[in-house]
């Protein structure tokens, strides 16, 4: 996956939390009505499959002309080769909307590890019964536990990014030597 695609995935990853900026603004100016009637409802909506799709549809507008027909620079399997499922995956990752959506879904997945108290994740929003409040009940929201649990994910991502950067550099060096 190219750097640009990874950035799109990351944008999708933080996309559901963009509206948290509204919390910051409303708490800074102590505007309780704004928090209750705007910030909280928008946050509930963005943390759902429907919300991820709606936000991704909007954000993808800014990227669509740039990624079309781009080829992956880090190829395990060459485009057009390999099993059908791999070819389909490669084709799908050429679409910004797809990358944003899978980034958003990854966000929801990680949030589902939290105890569903202090909001909870309604994947099938606007269905809001207790039976739709899914959770792995692993850690408490907004607590240091979450940071400790999530740190390994961050480290793995950082290592993967470094490995890909090093491979890219060695490829460039080989290319320069050949020329």
């Amino acid at each position: 996956m190219t750097k640009e695609k990874r950035v799109l995935f990351l944008i999708g990853n933080v996309m559901p939390d963009f509206v948290r900026l509204l919390y910051l603004i409303s708490s800074a100016i102590n505007f309780q009505s704004f928090t209750t009637l705007i910030a909280v409802p928008l946050n509930n909506g963005s943390h759902s499959l429907l919300g991820v799709l709606a936000y991704a549809v909007f954000i993808s507008i800014f990227f669509e002309p740039s990624l079309a027909f781009k080829q992956s620079s880090f190829k395990v399997i060459k485009p057009g080769h390999g099993p059908a499922i791999v070819r389909k995956w490669q084709a799908a990752t050429e679409i910004p909307l797809f990358l944003l959506v899978i980034g958003g879904v990854a966000h929801l997945f990680l949030d589902t590890f939290m105890w569903p108290f202090g909001g909870g994740i309604y994947w099938l929003y606007p269905l809001n019964g207790a039976e739709f409040l899914w959770s792995f009940k692993a850690w408490w929201p907004s607590s240091p536990d979450a940071i400790i649990f999530l740190a390994p994910f961050f480290v793995v991502a950082l290592i993967a990014e470094l490995v890909m950067a090093l491979i890219g550099k060695s490829k460039a060096r080989k290319h320069a030597l050949l020329n």
Partner: protein, 185 residues
Amino acid sequence: MKTVKHPNSLKIGIFCAFIMFSIFIGSYWTFYPPMPTRVGNDPYNVSLKSLVDNARMLEGQEVVITSTARLVHWNASADVMTFHVHDDYFGITVPVMIENWTSSNVYPVSQVTNGSTVVIRGTCYLQSKGYIAGIELHVLLPDLVYLISITGLVAIIVLLFHYFKVDFKKLVITRKKQDSPEGTT
């Protein structure tokens, strides 16, 4: 005169419709909270308004509420922590009492202060005794989470500007021209 329909207008329309829908349905749930439900033996996860509105139904049941603590008081000799949780918007105040504080909670007393955001699991005795008997309490650290979120957001913006050329006039982000071959950083 020919009018050209912008291809993105549908996408912008979908997004705006969702935003309006979220605000509408969220506000509706705030004023008319759904009837509390639960799965299996899980506690009822309720807002303060829902707790007060359904106090009779929730009497003696295990509930979880998330709110801001005020009037925090710890009686060291009796080992009892008492405080009030507030909903500023609706002006609701509910007293909470946690007995055997030092043995039942890992949080030092100093962490529970006026203005702390807390999650309380407890038994609802609003009808009979007028308070929630707390079993478990967690102090949430929203400031720390906001700090981390903003750091992440800044990192994403830096990456965005590093890998893409942003043309604000056209509001279109295009990929930077690459002088080096593919795969280079």
